[in-house]
């Protein structure tokens, strides 16, 4: 049975699309038939992050409005057999989506034998974001270790618990997962960044993973190759760990502590830090 997953955050720029692409890629790498749906109508970017921007012909809005069928709009990833993308429209506005239309598309995706349907939510708490989370079975809340992101994540948790289909129909609530991105153990150690334990305590939902602040993420988006493919990189490995946890495996956390340094290195670093 297909599961619908929303990747959401409230705040913009925290890494929803990067995470949607990376987690979708990770699930497909594990052999699960996965589709990533871009709900950011008017500002589509998933296509660019996944490197299929030149192959977009039809989009989600076309399918919702019955101007194209699902197979015409689905883009098959060139690297992975089991990975598909359903892009957002670039030209229309967020009102182009309606709940019945989105419900139909989700049903069609389920009928097309997908294991996981990942809904990449737009920022904000308006219609587009509500559409993306409405049908979710599980939610991945992407949070940066920073005050506005944590506060907005808390708002989104409130909305998941009140405005989703599962909430309205009083079904079992959405399973929530916390994904902390852009984490910098060095800054946490210096007392300049909220620690993982603080974020977990404030939001009080189970932790799915911690993605370190990494050049690999920028490089991945520059080249349109989800960072999960870069398995040499810290961020790529952290996303794969998160995928394993998502699938129910117990995996120890990595990249959450600073590397141990010798006394000399520490003195050198302190000097460097003071100069910066």
């Amino acid at each position: 049975m297909a599961e619908v997953i929303v990747v959401t955050s409230g705040k913009g720029g925290v890494g929803k699309t990067t995470s949607s692409a990376a987690l979708g890629t990770g699930l497909a790498l594990k052999g699960y038939r996965t589709v990533v749906v871009d709900f950011d109508v008017g500002l589509r970017n998933l296509d660019l992050i996944m490197g299929c921007e030149r192959r977009v012909v039809y989009d989600l809005v076309n399918v919702v409005k019955k101007e194209a069928n699902l197979n015409q709009a689905l883009i098959k990833d060139k690297r992975l057999e089991e990975l598909y993308i359903l892009p957002a429209s670039q030209t229309r506005d967020k009102d182009a989506l309606d709940i019945d239309g989105v419900a139909r598309v989700i049903e069609e995706l389920k009928a097309a034998n997908f294991d996981y349907i990942i809904c990449d939510s737009p920022a904000g708490i308006e219609k587009g974001a509500l559409m993306a989370l409405y049908f979710a079975d599980r939610a991945i809340v992407v949070t940066n270790p920073e005050v506005s992101s944590v506060r907005d994540s808390d708002r989104i948790l409130g909305i998941l618990a009140s405005k989703s289909k599962r909430a309205e129909e009083k079904l079992e609530p959405i399973r929530e997962h916390l994904l902390v991105t852009r984490y910098s153990p060095t800054r946490v150690e210096r007392g300049d960044m909220l620690a993982l334990s603080d974020i977990e305590e404030l939001l009080a939902i189970p932790l799915l993973g911690v993605i370190p602040e990494s050049l690999a993420v920028l490089r991945a988006s520059n080249s349109g190759i989800p960072v999960t493919f870069d398995q040499e990189s810290d961020a790529g490995q952290a996303y794969l760990d998160a995928v394993d946890r998502f699938l129910g495996h117990k995996v120890p956390l990595r990249f959450v502590n600073t590397k141990k340094r010798t006394l000399l290195q520490r003195l050198f670093k302190a000097k460097e830090g003071a100069a910066a």
Binding site: E146, D154, G158, S162, V188, G191, M193, L202, K271
Partner: protein, 101 residues
Amino acid sequence: MSWIDLFRNKKRNTAVTAKERLQIVISHERTRQSQPDLITAMQAEILSIIAKYLGIPTDKIQEQVKVDVERRGEHSVLELNITLPESAHKALPKETAAEEA
């Protein structure tokens, strides 16, 4: 600016400040979210009680009752402001304005 800084007192740890501020704002917003109509409901009920005891129709005092919750430092202040219309003067010895903390 040298390694001597290592021996000085550290500056206020801003991550701790961030956590404390978030704890307050998040708990406040959660209570508000779970009871969004609390203030409106309270206002309506207070209104009906005043109307009942002073014998004035509610529509006449509707705009004279204001209920607000305000945060002042670590405390929440429930503020209640009632201005009574002319007709109520006969029922009461003097004008009443109540403020509750």
